[in-house]
């Protein structure tokens, strides 16, 4: 196509929500690209622009029109088209009329099913000017806007009131109307530095005009990097390094069109306050980036981003310092006030805080955690006393002034206050670690008491919520139970904890029962199944094949770390050359046993082994049993399967030579007994008959 030009679409609005901005702009881009692709409009690179006051998409080398298409419409079959005199039948006349041609102009096409009448014609491709309005309306309609605002009289609405529209194809305005606006070539610059209208001669000029005349850096990605560079440079000038949380960086990028870094400092005395609290105050309230020394210690300084280039930077600096001071003073006040009372003083007050309707108060929860955490600690051979103490104090920091002000500090403040109170270090550490892992990929607890409390806290919630019938369904998981379950499993598997899920669920349920709330057996089973389902997702994420997982699941191991050991063993087993044949043989054995319907003896009678192959298999098996047992006891499933792989020759020989379902009942039952014993050897690790044949 010769006529290829740049397309620019810009939508100018009141300040857009900063947290949603990036997602919104990417969605707009992909909707537009989708629309262009569906319309068959060829194009080059696509740029996306997003600032608080605009969303824009630029498409390079967009073809001006769809290619013309050869279209073929199929009519009646030739056989049924003409009467005896050779005149067209009504069906043909109707078809020709609908195509707007004479019956004589219809063409014939041969197909394997016979000859048909067709109408062929060139369909003119639509132009960009014709296609764009519909395409853009659809794209805007499909944007993921959580609360699309609608107000009776003004129907079409965007996430924020829209003030202008630019739609340029090369140098020409493409007419488009939406949100009571009509497209033009006029954009606007920075609210204060360049408030006037800016005319765009050509779509290509957009970023340069905005940056040079409009005081706007339109590209989100470029602006984000510009902010990062500035923040890093200013922190380096202070002799430290800025801590740049990607989510905060995105949010700040979404709040500025012309970012300028400003540094500030605060009084050193505030550094006596736990640093997490200072960071929360700076980051959460003020969107400041905090600065640490090269050793990683918090420095009494921050970097913030201003959208306006001030004539008086010192004033801006001192203003920022003035604003953060009361926030930091609040944090210092809470710290001092909270330290005046030991954490344990809050235990009684937990009785007045509801954990969950029907599941009692936080005090009730804490009582249950004492039972469960101590049980876990004992099962791990760890200090049960520390676990009990940690469970008693677990929720106390929720009542501190600091956590009231900064809820994200739950657990962290618990650790500080416990240390301050002189609680054992294991207890202090557990108070923080109980909430781990807080998100996918987060660190696991590192201490035994921490693990015990973290597992107990999550499992208690899981069991309780299931018991009151609020288990997650579909997209609904208001208590984030899937995440909790995955957290529990990660701890058990990755730290190889010898904990049995079924008995833990029973202990957790028992703690509820002691408080007068029964947890039915079916509910316990449902919880177990839910956990195994999460385990399936966990292993799928690790790239474990679904049939490997299934082979293990069929044996129903209830200790997740043991489950994992079997999964790894089966994964390596399936790579052995013997695996496919043995999987097949096990499948065959399973079928034979299922069909037989007879009572199979437990013992194999060596005297009844007539065939050489039977005797050979028996010999191979008997040699193995003694070697398998100690390996199983040590959980060395990989070694067990490797050993059993050695059976493939005798097994192959067996099936070549032996007719299992012999007429003689004695022989038959003995053969079935031997096969059952063979199958059971494998089932000690996994049901390898579930393995799918490799490629």
């Amino acid at each position: 196509m010769s006529d290829r030009r740049t397309l620019l679409f810009e939508l100018g609005s009141e300040e857009l929500p900063p947290k949603a901005l990036f997602r919104l702009s990417e969605a707009l881009k992909s909707e537009i690209v989708d629309g262009l692709d569906k319309a068959g409009l060829e194009h080059g690179a696509v740029e996306v622009y997003a600032t608080p006051r605009r969303l824009a998409v630029m498409v390079k080398e967009l073809s001006g029109a769809q290619a013309d298409r050869e279209v073929e419409r199929k009519g009646p079959a030739l056989q049924a088209a003409f009467d005896a005199q050779g005149n067209p039948k009504p069906a043909v006349l109707g078809f020709a009329r609908s195509c707007g041609v004479d019956p004589a102009d219809l063409e014939r096409v041969e197909t394997p099913k016979g000859t048909w009448l067709v109408h062929r014609f060139q369909q003119k491709g639509q132009t960009v000017v014709e296609i764009l309005p519909g395409l853009l309306s659809t794209a805007l309609e499909r944007l993921p806007i959580p609360k699309r605002m609608r107000w009776g009289a003004l129907d079409e609405q965007f996430v924020r009131p829209v003030h202008w529209l630019v739609l340029l194809f090369g140098g020409e305005v493409v007419p488009f109307s939406i949100f009571n606006l009509t497209s033009d070539r006029t954009t606007y610059g920075h609210r204060f530095h360049a408030p006037g209208a800016l005319s765009l001669a050509h779509a290509d000029d957009y970023p340069t005009v905005l940056e040079a005349q409009g005081h706007v850096m339109p590209s989100f990605a470029v602006r984000r990097e510009r902010i990062r560079d500035q923040v890093e440079a200013r922190a380096a000038e202070l002799g430290g390094r800025a801590v740049i949380d990607p989510a905060l960086l995105d949010e700040v990028t979404g709040m500025n069109e012309w970012p300028l870094a400003v540094v500030g400092s605060f009084e050193e005395r505030f550094l006596d306050v736990p640093h997490e609290a200072l960071v929360s105050a700076m980051k959460g309230h003020q969107k400041y980036f905090h600065v640490v020394s090269n050793a990683g210690d918090l420095m009494p300084a921050f970097v913030t981003i201003s959208n306006i280039e001030s004539r008086n930077p010192d004033v801006v600096r001192s203003g920022n310092e003035r604003v953060i001071r009361p926030r930091l003073a609040d944090a210092a006040f809470f710290w001092q006030q909270d330290c005046a009372r030991p954490l344990a003083d809050h235990v009684d007050a937990l009785k007045r805080v509801l954990f969950q309707k029907e599941l009692g108060t936080l005090h009730d929860k804490s009582d249950r955690l004492v039972v469960l955490a101590a049980h876990i600690a004992e099962a791990l051979g760890d200090d049960a006393e520390a676990a009990r103490r940690a469970a008693v104090l677990a929720k106390c920091d929720l009542l501190s002034g600091m956590v009231g002000e900064f809820p994200e500090l739950q657990g962290i403040m618990g650790r500080y206050y416990a240390r301050h109170d002189g609680e054992p270090e294991a207890v202090a550490q557990a108070l923080e670690e109980q909430y781990r892992p807080r998100f996918a990929g987060d660190d696991l607890p590192t201490s035994n008491t921490g693990r015990a409390l973290a597992i107990a806290d999550k499992l208690d919630t899981l069991v309780g919520i299931f018991a009151i019938g609020q288990a997650p369904t579909g997209d609904r998981d208001p208590f984030a139970l899937r995440r909790s379950a995955l957290g529990i499993l990660r701890m058990m598997v990755e730290d190889k904890l010898p904990l049995d899920l079924v008995s833990l669920i029973d202990v957790a349920a028992g703690a509820y029962e002691k408080q007068g709330m029964a947890v039915a057996n079916e509910v316990r089973e449902t919880i177990f199944e839910f956990m195994i389902d999460r385990l399936r997702a966990y292993f799928a994420d690790q790239g474990v094949d679904p049939d490997v997982f299934e082979a293990v699941r069929l044996c129903r191991p209830t200790v997740p770390s043991d489950f994992a050991a079997r999964v790894h063993a089966v994964s390596s087993f399936r790579n052995l050359p013997e695996a496919a044949g043995l999987a097949q043989a096990n499948k065959r054995i399973r079928n034979i046993l299922r069909k037989s319907g007879e009572t199979i003896p437990e013992q194999v009678d060596a005297d009844l082994l007539r065939e050489m192959a039977e005797q050979g298999l028996a010999e191979a098996m008997s040699g193995m049993e003694d070697r398998v047992k100690p390996l199983l006891d040590q959980g060395r499933y990989g070694d067990v399967l490797e050993l059993l792989a050695g059976l493939h020759r005798p097994v192959d020989a067996y099936f070549e030579a032996v007719m299992v379902m012999a007429d003689d009942a004695g022989l038959r039952l003995n053969r079935l007994a031997q096969l059952q014993a063979l199958s059971n050897m494998f089932l000690q690790v996994a049901d390898i008959s579930a393995l799918q044949q490799a490629g």
Binding site: E14, E15, P17, P18, P52, K147, M149, W151, G152, A153, L154, Q157, R160, P161, H163, W164, F179, N180, L181, R191, F192, P195, V252, M255, N256, V262, H285, Q286, K287, T304, I305, S306, N307, I308, S310, N312, V315, V316, R317, S318, G319, N320, R322, V323
Partner: protein
């Protein structure tokens, strides 16, 4: 901006829509609506009026408020207004300090002129609801039609100097909307 705007009201933010803070509203959690104001704005929207909000933000000049944070505050105002069915079409603000000699800090009429230019609308009969004599004067010099409410600093302003003769005074935004919609209908 929509060229077909005819029905427009201009509201001063602090003292009319939300409570006044001594140091200015600095974060979304300090923004507290005056009882009844958001519902009243919802009535205006349903009656087909566009709403433009104006506000003085000297904190931006002195660094105590970063304009990004102002957006967060306005985010909250927009959300709360929307939940009462009110739609704020635009917010115009002056970012300058007291001594900067800008043309948009009340009592100068610059902010209203900006509204006139951007919306291409004649401000002749457009009501401006204000809580201070500065805002009243600014509206008057721009040719708009100011009224005073007693919320915010309004009660002091009513007794103070500089009030034009015949200026209508209402208890709050809700009372003005009640009266205005009745007169207009």
């Amino acid at each position: 901006m929509d060229l077909s705007i005819k029905r427009l009201v201009i509201l001063v933010r602090d003292g009319v829509i939300n409570e006044v803070c001594p140091h200015g509203v600095q974060s979304p959690d300090e923004w507290a609506p005056i009882p009844g104001s958001l519902e009243a704005m919802g009535r205006l929207t349903r009656a087909g009026y566009h709403i433009v909000v104006t506000t003085m933000q000297p904190g931006i000049a002195d660094g105590s408020l970063i304009s990004g944070h102002l957006n967060l505050i306005h985010e909250r105002m927009n959300m709360e207004a929307a939940s009462e069915g009110a739609r704020i079409d635009a917010i115009f603000y002056c970012p300058h300090g007291l001594g900067e000699g800008c043309g948009c800090r009340f009592p100068a009429p610059g902010l209203f002129n900006e509204i006139h230019d951007r919306l291409r609308i004649n401000l002749d009969a457009i009501p401006v609801v204000a809580d201070s004599s500065d805002a009243v004067q600014a509206a008057q010099s721009a040719g708009a039609h100011p009224v005073l409410v007693r919320t915010g600093r309004g009660e002091a302003a009513e007794k103070g100097p500089g009030m034009p003769k015949g200026l209508k005074v209402y208890d709050d935004l809700a009372a003005w909307v009640e009266d205005y919609l009745r007169e207009e209908s």
